[in-house]
């Protein structure tokens, strides 16, 4: 079958190359005309094309055009945002374009082709350029947030240039991102492991310029399966802008953005801190943390004793980001072009003068009608970005170290500000010094160069047949240079050298490059036969990728010289290098059928291969189909419900494939164990051991996707929406049937395609639009609810459970993800302990390994009672309840409002999430315990009514507060201290639902009549703000609900920013 396809395609390809276009002489007629909109304003730049050809002109500033065309030609008049009209050529043609309200006739990009929106049978959302850029965001990912039902976007940190944002579709993992036909990924850096990058699709969107995008389609159901491997999580198709026919239009836009943290806990003043710290020690029977001597310095206002808020010092007053962009767009009948250049700088919110992020990117698209039937498109982008951060080891404990620093010690020696002070906190480093570059730097440059060459040949002798070929080449390079400096620390009072920062002087350089080559051949055919419309597509593609990485490291010893490797000590040199390549290929076919615009059907299949698996297991056949019924086109329906302009039922069902495990597991062989044995001194021999066993029977995962949905619209868009129920089951996930084999065999049984996971959910979209003469508005609301569960767990099927309790604890098969994992069980609270009597009377033990007396001595008033759910008198993990985990929340929603009045426009995007929890435990960064500061929000805690009472006296009177009495959290070091269980107290695990005004933008577009006088086509001014308002649990609000809190410090990663933006767009 594969060969057959080629036997047919190849001759076509050759004929395409040798085909010489022939121009036939015809009668010509001269056409003049004017194009106006509904308000009688000229439409500038509208395209007038001779139907069926690539010839055409555009209107000028007054909407006029003139044109010589063959007699009897049909002209197509189109402009973005208006419905396309057709007229027969006549000497004078005046046209009033109607605003395209219904958009049902709109053509949208789908996998390997385009389709009319009305004919869609799948859950595909489409975002056009205007909607995407309705709010001026710095990148595409931010622009998408809240606009597409099913798309779940969550920003993890506010670090400039990390692109650390989670992108999920319907609760599945990251979808594929395909830019101009090619699968793309870009490096993403997770804040916590600073030097590790992963290739991610979300980072591609985060680095694209929204202005360069023509449209984005999101394939959410089985329609994504046409992309084969990796499409099991859905596909996002991005199409960049093409040039349009007409005089060059130059567009310049800029935006200046100022950011402040959306939330940042406020530190108490130093005297309050001294008091609270001493109270904290007193509560556990320790002497004061701060002597009266130190406190007196502040009470007396002694010179040199300042309040040094180390934590607050981390952040600038505001960050500044600017973006400039120039684009040129134009062309004639033969050639059209679009070029853009953009520049972006962002100094980030971290208060280090050298820190920041810069990027420059270029996009150039050229379309050329080489012959009447051959169109060639070349798209290319270049981007360069540069990030300066702190070195990894400094960054990892950055926030923690700031929190550990003594408040009374300034960061500089006051008598000699060029010296960083020694702060004998828990870590003897100076976090502010590190932030200011004393500790070195981490500089990363990313370069990417993408190329697409796309040729479309309209076959003249077979009506409706087009053949397309694409070749793409992407190159990505990354250079990281990381310098770590051991800098001297001085006593803040005597200015004597105390010690050095703990790090060695060291330098690391890492070079990474990746090239990707992609080729595709495709044929599309469509034809109408009466009421029957048929479309067909066949394609084949292949993708090859090569990756190389090289890393070198050296240390300097005591004496740092310059940041090149040759200047460091040669004997400390270490180097690493790897190389790998991969490939995939596929054959794709699809047939669409439509009867009378009412009954729609589509069948498609992909035969997809991956290098991962053994011969015989590499290829997967992935078929799918979808059906649609446009009920609103039925005569009886129109008669009964004339106001319903669209009602369509959709059903799709199909199989997609996913890669799993690591490549080449099927190969028998030997790999490095990573451990040397020395056969003699100074002669290490690396051990090799055999791989477990050939895993030849492992292959792809199969993902079954189903979607039932309906789209509806009343009165041409006054009200509309869609509902989608979706179901996905990923089967054939790798698992072992291992429990049946004895240890003596000495090897694991091979992994097989056994386990499966199911996702079920619902997407909703509701929109409303209305126009009253000058006032035009639309509102769109979206919501997605998605859940996951394991439906087959091999190891649980064979496991032996010794009790029903054990079954309950360990058996997760069939349970929804809020209870999938032991982690997501939590204890319930039963109110706070009011005083010591309350503690001693509580008939429950918190720890089985100590006596009641010791146990309860670990408590303090204000701590929460934990509900002894099973009533056995001891708090164990059996007392926990299901809980929603922290992570990408299962329920996410958005609301988009767009208003236009005359020349003013206003848009607002809200987004929110619910059904997730956040861990707010209090040790370390949360102000209790190790840290040397306390946040204002924790001041509301239990405390002794009379500060001089003995805190351990049962008769002492306690004043209630939300938080428990302060106690030093030494939990990590001492498992029996009172701090351990506070990690899981009910107040540590709080509801994280939120709703926020993600962006708000106001713009003013100068009237065309005004700007055309100064030779401009349009001028728009806008001002906007992001993350302006947030509604959420007040406990979470101190930290921002959207960020993750993956470490237990409450202070990892830069905070999200609230930004204020002003900008201008000018085109001429």
């Amino acid at each position: 079958m594969k060969k057959l396809l080629y036997q047919r395609l190849l001759p076509l390809l050759f004929s395409m190359l040798v085909c010489i276009p022939v121009v036939f002489g015809q009668n010509q007629v001269s056409v003049k005309g004017k194009v106006l909109d509904q308000d009688g304003q000229p439409v500038i730049g509208a395209g007038i094309m001779i139907k069926g050809t690539a010839n055409g002109v555009t209107t000028d500033l007054d909407g006029n055009f003139s044109f010589v065309v063959p007699a009897g030609s049909v002209l197509e008049i189109s402009s973005i945002g208006y419905a396309t009209q057709e007229v027969t050529a006549a000497p004078t043609v005046n046209v009033t374009l109607l605003e395209d309200i219904t958009q049902l006739e709109e053509t949208i990009v789908v996998g390997y082709g385009t389709q009319k929106k009305a004919s869609l049978t799948s859950a595909i959302s489409n975002i056009r350029s205007e909607e995407l850029t309705a709010t001026k965001q710095s990148d595409v990912l931010a622009s998408l947030q809240g606009k597409v039902p099913g798309l779940q976007i969550r920003q993890r940190t506010g670090d400039a240039g990390d692109f650390n944002t989670d992108l999920k579709l319907r609760g599945f993992d990251e979808p594929l991102v395909i830019v101009d036909g090619m699968v793309r990924t870009a490096p993403r850096r997770s804040q916590e492991t600073n030097t590790s990058y992963s290739n991610s699709s979300s980072a591609v969107l985060a680095q694209l310029n929204p202005e360069d995008i023509e449209s984005i389609s999101v394939l959410k159901d089985a329609s994504a399966a046409i992309y084969g491997m990796g499409a099991e999580n859905g596909v996002i198709l991005v199409t960049t802008k093409q040039g349009s026919i007409g005089a060059p239009t130059v567009k310049y836009s800029n935006r200046f953005s100022f950011g402040v943290p959306t939330a940042l806990p406020e530190e108490v003043d130093i005297l309050t801190w001294f008091k609270e710290a001493n109270e904290m020690n007193a509560n556990v029977g320790k002497g004061p943390m701060y002597s009266q001597d130190i406190i007196d310095h502040y009470l007396n206002g002694d010179e040199g004793w300042t309040d040094n808020k180390w934590y607050s010092q981390f952040y600038r007053k505001f960050s500044f980001q600017q973006n400039h962009q120039v684009s040129v767009d134009g062309g004639n009948n033969q050639t059209q072009y679009y070029m853009s250049l953009s520049l972006n700088t962002d100094n980030g919110i971290l208060n280090g003068p050298q820190l920041g992020y810069k990027s420059i990117s270029w996009q150039g698209n050229v379309t050329s009608n080489v012959t009447k039937n051959l169109k060639v498109v070349y798209q290319s982008s270049l981007s360069w970005n540069y990030k300066v951060g702190t070195p990894a080891n400094a960054n990892q404990n950055f926030y923690t170290r700031g929190l550990y620093s003594e408040r009374y010690v300034p960061w500089n020696v006051p008598s000699n500000p060029s010296h960083w002070s020694y702060n004998a906190g828990n870590e003897s480093r100076n976090a502010i010094g590190a932030l200011n570059g004393a500790n070195g730097y981490d500089r990363t440059k990313n370069n990417s160069f993408t190329n697409n060459l796309n040729a479309t040949y309209t076959v003249p002798f077979i009506k409706g047949l087009k053949i397309q070929g694409q070749a793409s080449y992407d190159f990505q390079a990354r250079e990281t240079r990381q310098l770590t400096i051991a800098f001297p620390l001085y006593d803040w009072q005597t200015d004597e050298l105390v010690s050095k920062n703990k790090d060695d002087n060291a330098l690391m350089e890492r070079w990474y490059k990746r090239s990707t080559l992609y080729g595709k051949l495709q044929a599309n055919w469509s034809g109408d036969f009466g009421k029957h419309s048929i479309g067909a597509m066949a394609a084949t593609e292949a993708n090859l990728q090569w990756t190389t990485e090289l890393r070198g490291e050296r240390k300097y010893g005591e004496f740092y010289t310059h940041d090149i490797l040759n200047q460091a000590v040669e004997s400390t040199a270490e180097n690493y290098g790897t190389r790998s390549s991969n490939a995939k290929a596929g054959y794709i076919g699809r047939i669409n059928y439509e009867y009378d615009g009412k009954y729609l059907a589509e069948v498609m299949a992909r035969y997809d291969g991956s290098y991962f698996y053994a011969p015989g297991y590499r290829w997967a056949f992935l078929p799918s189909y979808s059906l649609g019924w446009r009920l609103s086109e039925e005569r009886f329906f129109k008669a009964a419900f004339p106001f319903i302009t669209n009602l369509k039922l959709r059903w799709s069902d199909g199989i997609s494939g996913g890669n799993q495990g690591s490549a080449y597991q099927y190969l028998l062989g030997y790999t490095q164990t990573g451990t040397n044995y020395m056969f003699a001194e100074n002669s290490p021999v690396m051990g090799y051991s055999s791989t477990k066993v050939a895993e030849t029977i492992l292959s792809w995962t199969r993902t079954y996707m189903r979607d039932f949905g309906f789209d509806w619209e009343i009165n041409k868009g006054i009200l509309g929406g869609s509902v989608d129920w979706f179901w996905r089951e990923q089967t054939g996930k790798a698992a072992k049937v291992d429990s049946s084999l004895p240890d003596m065999y000495g090897i694991d049984v091979p992994q097989m395609n056994l386990d499966s996971t199911q996702n079920v959910g619902i997407d909703l979209e509701l929109s409303h639009r209305k126009r009253f003469k000058d006032f035009n508005y639309r509102v769109t609301a979206t919501a997605t609810f998605a859940r996951e569960r394991d439906t087959y767990q091999q190891d649980e099927r064979t496991a032996i459970y010794h009790s029903s309790q054990e079954y309950y604890d360990e058996h997760t098969e069939g349970r929804w993800d809020n209870a999938l994992d032991g982690k997501y069980y939590e204890w319930n609270g039963k109110g706070q302990f009011k005083d010591w009597n309350d503690i001693f009377d509580y008939p429950v033990l918190y720890n089985t390994s100590s006596s009641k007396k010791m146990n309860m001595a670990e408590m303090l008033p204000g701590m929460y009672k934990i509900d002894d759910y099973n009533g056995d008198g001891v708090i164990t993990k059996q007392d926990r309840h299901y809980s929603w985990k922290e992570g990408n929340p299962p329920l996410q929603f958005g609301l988009m409002i767009f208003l236009e009045y005359k020349h003013f426009d206003l848009s607002a995007t809200f987004n929110g999430a619910a059904l997730s929890h956040k861990n707010m435990q209090m040790s370390g960064g949360m102000g209790y315990g190790w840290s040397k500061t306390l946040f204002v929000n924790h001041l509301d805690h239990y405390r002794l009514a009379d500060g001089y009472d003995d805190p351990r006296d049962p008769n002492s009177v306690w004043v209630p507060g939300y938080w428990p009495a302060l106690a030093p959290a030494t939990g990590a070091e001492d498992a029996t201290s009172n701090a351990t269980y506070r990690f899981v107290q009910p107040y540590s695990w709080v509801d994280n639902s939120f709703f926020r005004l993600k962006s708000l933008e106001m713009g003013y577009t100068f009237p065309k009549s005004v700007v055309s006088k100064v030779g401009l086509k349009s001028v728009r001014l806008h001002a906007s703000a992001t993350n302006l308002l947030t509604f959420c649990n007040p406990i979470v609000k101190v930290w921002d609900p959207e960020t993750y809190q993956s470490s237990r410090r409450g202070a990892s990663g830069a905070p999200l920013l609230k930004t204020f933006v002003v900008g201008t767009s000018i085109s001429f």
Binding site: S499, G669, T671, S690, T691, P742, D743, Y745
Partner: protein
Amino acid sequence: MKKILKYSFAIVLGLSLCSCDKLFDSLEGDLTRMSEDDITASQGGMERLLSDVYNTIPMNAFNTLDQSTMLASYSKNNNYSIAVTGFWNYTKMRSINSFIQKVDVALEKKSINQATHDAMLGEALFARAYCYFASVRRYGGVPIVTEPLDDQYDGGENAGLYIPRSTEKETWDFVISELDRAAELLPEERNDGNFRATKWAALGLQSRVALYAASLSKYWSKETIPSSYKSVSEKLTYMEASYADAYFAKCIEACEKIMNSGKFALYGGATTSVAKAKENLTNLFVERQDCEFIFGKAFKDGTADADNGFDRSNSPNQSHGTGTNAGWGNYSITSDLVDMYDDYNAAGGRADGTIKTRNDGKEDVYFAQIVNAASSFDKNADFIKYDNPQDPFLNKDARFQAWVLYPGCEFRGKTIVAQGGIWLDGKDPEFYQEKSYKVNGVTYYELGAETQGGMSAFIDIGNVGSSNHSYFWTTCFGIRKFLDPTGPLDKSTNPWCDIRYAEVLLNYAEAFAESGHGNAATAKKALNDIRHRAAFTDDIEPTLDNVLHERRVEFAFEGHETYTLWRRREYLSTRSGGPYRKHTVVPVLDLRDGTPKYIFPRANAYWSDVQNSTTGVNTDLLDYYGAIPNYSENRLTVNPSQE
């Protein structure tokens, strides 16, 4: 660019003309993997596999160091160790068995010659015997798997994979006979240091194994583990006295072969100078000393993973100072061990080495080690007052001086400070506080120094939550054996001497003392040669007591003591069980007379041992046999403690 063109061509060609898999087959493939053909094609490839075989050997290299018997802080609360190191890793066993097959393949391919083949086979047999030795001492009889079981896997019942346990005796005999085979195959010489097995390594290990099996047989207790237990009735955990004789004889035979080979001698030899003896005994562990080094593991190659980490973890706090690598004095030696080291009498012969702390000779009185001066301390006890903190230790065995750090000794240019208290006139003695007192215009520090950087012991005693706790000794003695007094602190590359000639001599002496096999004169010479190296001038008789005493002091921290007690079935009843506590002497600065003197009250080393009962410490003698892992999946008979 060329590559791109090439691959573009390949794509078109691959997709259109050839079968689809061509594209994938044209990739470079997995560059992290070597095929079996590649590996067996050269000696270098086989050595890569052999490296993994050696790494499988469960050698004690710088790991456990007899912590359960000699490390004071290793006894707190439930941390008593009641197990010996075992081995239950059939994955690794499969690697060795597979290597044994590959050696033949390589020989067939002429990748290696016959001599290399024999040597490598011998090494693999040696390594496999070492593993089964570790298995049998922990579990009794175990399933003996001698080849990869691929033929037995049929995807159905897999009956051939369920290999039953051999009896304990069969397992011991298997290990011993395999070592005979290995000794036949292995070369007598290695010219690059004995980090690979030789004939002598196989025999040395065999003497250790045979002695172990012999002791087990002799001290097996039918009363404790009667045949009502299934594993006993099946003889999976069963030895009897009648077996012992043959094993002792085998031990003697293996030792004799080594002793008669003339290839080995004790490093340094006999000396009458304690100072010289101390120097020899230090060097013995800082460098490889070929005459005594029968088998061991190297750490010197200049890369990070070569470091054995010993100096970093075990040097006293004073060597580290503040700053880099602050504080890692992890090993606190008990006074029970220190008491074992003999003193020299005037003639250089043996004298009782018990630390003299009291004039009344009541050296068996111990105080609770107390945070606050407590009631158990008898203020009227008649302590000997020494002028210097090192005085009680100066006349001890050169091995003590070379291998143990004590108060007042010199190390890395510093005088070790390990002082636990102060006793002022008219006051109660005070312990473990960082305080200072002025007496007659002189400042005295309770812990012997002004700052923590100047001391090595007794900080934060009892405060288990403090991180300092693990940086300072909880007794006044620290480990010195294996420390390189001049090398870098952060990188220790001295080798681990796993089998040394001294062990062979003492194995001989013990087997003789237990069984009467062998030659009395040889046994006596073996025992006394070791003592003469430590500058003792007299000769003692090779009695069992003398041999065991010598074993304990000679092999301190080398991992032998735990196994000696275990095989003699004395471990659970003495060293780690309830009745036994670990002790120290606490050097106290006595200022009651106005002039500084030192007294050394004896105390329990770990204060919580006194407070807490021995909850959680299982002294059940059934525990001499560890629990069989995954017994139901493996369909194996369980051990007595699991029944």
